[in-house]
Assembly symmetry: C2
Homo-oligomer: 353 residues x 2
C-alpha cells in the first residue's frame, strides 16, 4: 500500500467547495482500487487568512509544504478584500516559484456531453505546456515619477534554461502523443525576448527529428484556437501566452469551469501543485452551485503525474459520463448542485468497480 | 472639391493585390458621390525593397510620408526572406511610432453573410482600442551570456500619458456608442505595469460618470470573446493585449481576412495609417485569390476618420451585401477571386448611386 501525503489548500471562494468534493471523489477511487491512499492535510491559507495575519501563508509555509508529496489547491483571490497581485504573489505564484514548478500543463479536449461554443468543431485534444517560472511574470520593475509624468516598467526575463526546459517537456510529451509541437511566439512585435524564444526553439527541435513543428504568433494562434483547434497537439508557450491560451482552451471546451492544470516540478525533488484553471468566483461562492469537475479533472492530472494513469483515466471517464448524463451545474446550462455532480461522479466510479 | 493626398504602401504578399482592389473601390465611391477625391501615391517599401536596399524604406521615408494626409498600407512581412522583427520594426512599427499613431482601433462585428465559427452567437459589435505606441512593444532589452547561461530581457514601458490617452479615446468612443468600456488587465500576474494600468483606469473613469466599466484579466477576456462577445462595447487594451484580442475578434467574425485597423494620430498633426489586421499571407500571394474585404473595410475606417462617415457606412453596407450574395474568396469557403469580389463591391456601390 502506497500512502501519499497531500497538502490541501482550498484557498478562496468556490475553492472551499470544489476541493472537498474532489477529495471525496479521489478517496472513493483509491478505496475501490486499493494499492494506494492519500492522506490529506488542509491549510487555511487564503485572503481571509491574509486579513487576519497580514500574509497569505505563515513564514514557514513553504518549509511546511516541502514535507508533502504533492499540493492540491483550489483557487486564490478575493479582489474585493485583497488586491490580486498581493494574494496571488503571496500564495499561488509564490508556491510555483519556491517549489520550482517550472512547467504548467493544461489540456483542452472536446468532451462528450459538453457543448462547445464552437459550431461543429472537429474533435480536438491539445495540451498547452506553459513555462511557469519566469518570462513575463517577473518581479522586476517598478514605477517612477508621479502625476502626469508617472510611468511603470516591467521586465520580462527569459533564460535559456527555463525556456529550453519547457520546450523539452513539450517535445517529450509530443513523442507520447501525435508527434507535433507548436511554438507560441510574437517575434514580429516583441523584439528581444521572442526572437530569443525562437532561437531556443530552433536549437531544441534539432534533438527531436521525428517531431513536426510549427511556430505561430500568439495573435494568430489565439485565432486558430477558435478556427481550427483540432490541428494542435502540444503547444509550448511562455508564462503569459500560456495563461491566455489555456483560458481560451477552457472556453472552446465549453467552460473554463472544467479545465485543470498541473504545476510540475519536473525534477521531482519538490512537490508539484495541482489546481483548476478557474478562479475563486466570489459571485457564486458559498451557494453550493460551483462546478467541481475542474477540480476533479485536476485530480486526474495529479494521479497521472504520480504514475497512476489507469486511475486518472477512470476519473476522466467519470467526468465525461456525468456530462453525457446531463447532470450539470449552472455554468454548463444545468441546474445541478456541486453535491449532485459530485455524487454522480462517485456513483459512476462505484458502478465501474 | 476636397482633394486628399494618400501615401500607399502595398507592402508584401497579398498586400500588393488587395490594396489596388480597395483603391478601385474607394475611387468608385468618391466618383459617384463627389465632393472629395483621393490622389494615391504608391511606395514600393517592402521586404523585396529591403533585399535590394538593405532597409525597409529609404532614410528620408518618414520625412516623405509627412507630406501626406493619410497612409494606406497593405501588409508587411516575408519571414522566409527577412526576419519579421526586422521587416516590421523597419516599416510598420516604425511608421506607427514616428507618426505618433498612438491609438489603434479595430472593430469586430457579426456581419450578415459571414459564418461565425461560434455556434449561434448573439449579434456582437465591439471595438478594441489598442495602445499603439509603447507597452510590451519596446526596443528596451537585449541578451546576455551565451550557451546554457544565455538570457534575454525585454522591458515593457507604460507611461501615464500613453495609457491615459488610449483610455480617454476609449471612453470618448463609448459615449458615441453603448456607454460601456472594458479594461483588459492582468494585474493578478504582472505585478508592476498592470496594477499601474488599473490605477490609471480608475483615475480616468472618474471623468466619465455616465460610462459603465468592467475590468477583466486578459486570459478571462480572451475566453469571453468566445463565450459572450455580445457583452462588449469598447475594450481598451495594451499594445500586446490589443493585438491578441483583435485577431480573436477577426476569428469570431468568421475570418481574420476581413478585419480592418486604424493607426490613429489622434492629434491630427501627422498622417494616420490604415491597414487590415491580416498579414501578407505568402502562401496564397500572387494567385489572385486574396480576400480584399479587409482592405476595403480599412478604407471605411479611413473615410470615417476623415469625417466622411456617410461614405464609410456605404462601404460597410457594400461589404455586407457582397457577403450575403455569396461571392466569397476561399478563406470564407467560396471560390471567388479577388477580382470577383472587388467587382461585386463596385457594382453594388454603383447600383446604390
Ligand atoms: C505584424 C505585427 C508586428 C503586428 C502587431 O503585432 O502589431 C500585427 O500583428 C498587428 O496586429 O498589426
Ligand atoms: C491567477 C493568475 C495569477 C494565474 C496566472 O495568470 O498564472 C491564473 O490565471 C492561472 O492561469 O493560473
Amino acid at each position: 500500500m502506497n500512502q501519499y501525503e497531500i497538502a490541501v489548500i482550498p484557498g478562496d471562494g468556490i475553492g472551499k467547495e470544489v476541493v472537498p468534493a474532489a477529495i471525496r471523489v479521489i478517496d472513493t477511487l483509491t478505496d475501490i482500487h486499493g494499492g494506494l491512499s492519500f492522506k490529506w492535510t488542509s491549510f487555511p491559507w487564503s485572503c481571509e487568512y491574509y486579513l487576519e495575519h497580514g500574509a497569505m501563508m505563515p513564514e514557514d509555509g513553504i518549509q511546511t509544504l516541502r514535507n508533502f508529496d504533492q499540493i492540491f489547491l483550489g483557487a486564490v483571490g478575493m479582489p474585493n478584500l485583497v488586491p490580486d497581485h498581493v494574494s496571488l504573489w503571496g500564495l499561488l505564484i509564490k508556491i510555483r516559484r519556491e517549489m520550482q514548478q517550472s512547467i504548467n500543463v493544461r489540456p483542452a479536449k472536446l468532451l462528450n456531453g459538453l457543448a462547445s461554443p464552437l459550431r461543429d468543431p472537429e474533435p480536438f485534444d491539445l495540451i498547452v505546456v506553459r513555462e511557469n517560472s519566469e518570462g513575463e511574470y517577473s518581479e522586476i520593475g517598478g514605477r517612477m515619477h508621479s502625476g502626469s509624468d508617472e510611468m511603470a516598467i516591467q521586465s520580462a526575463v527569459f533564460t535559456r534554461k527555463g525556456t529550453e526546459r519547457a520546450m523539452r517537456y513539450a517535445f517529450d510529451l509530443a513523442k507520447k502523443r501525435r508527434q507535433h509541437v507548436t511554438s507560441a511566439t510574437k517575434s514580429n512585435g516583441i523584439s528581444h525576448s521572442m526572437p530569443f524564444w525562437d532561437d531556443v526553439f530552433k536549437d531544441v527541435l534539432k534533438d527531436y527529428p521525428d517531431i513536426a513543428t510549427t511556430s505561430n504568433h500568439i495573435d494568430a494562434l489565439a485565432a486558430f484556437f477558435v478556427m481550427k483547434p483540432h490541428v494542435f497537439d502540444v503547444i509550448v508557450a511562455s508564462n503569459l501566452f500560456g495563461d491566455i491560451l489555456t483560458d481560451l482552451g477552457g472556453a472552446i471546451m465549453g467552460s473554463i469551469g472544467i479545465a485543470p492544470a498541473a504545476n510540475l516540478n519536473v525534477e521531482r525533488t519538490l512537490p508539484s501543485m495541482f489546481e483548476p484553471v478557474h478562479g475563486s468566483a466570489p459571485d457564486i461562492a458559498g451557494k453550493g452551485v460551483a462546478n467541481p469537475l475542474g477540480q476533479i479533472w485536476t485530480g486526474k492530472l495529479m494521479l497521472d503525474f504520480m504514475g497512476y494513469e489507469d486511475l486518472g483515466k477512470l476519473l476522466l471517464d467519470a467526468i465525461e459520463h456525468v456530462l453525457v448524463s446531463g447532470i450539470k451545474t449552472r455554468d454548463l446550462g444545468g441546474r445541478a448542485t456541486t453535491e449532485d455532480v459530485t455524487s454522480a461522479v462517485i456513483e459512476y466510479l462505484k458502478s465501474c468497480g
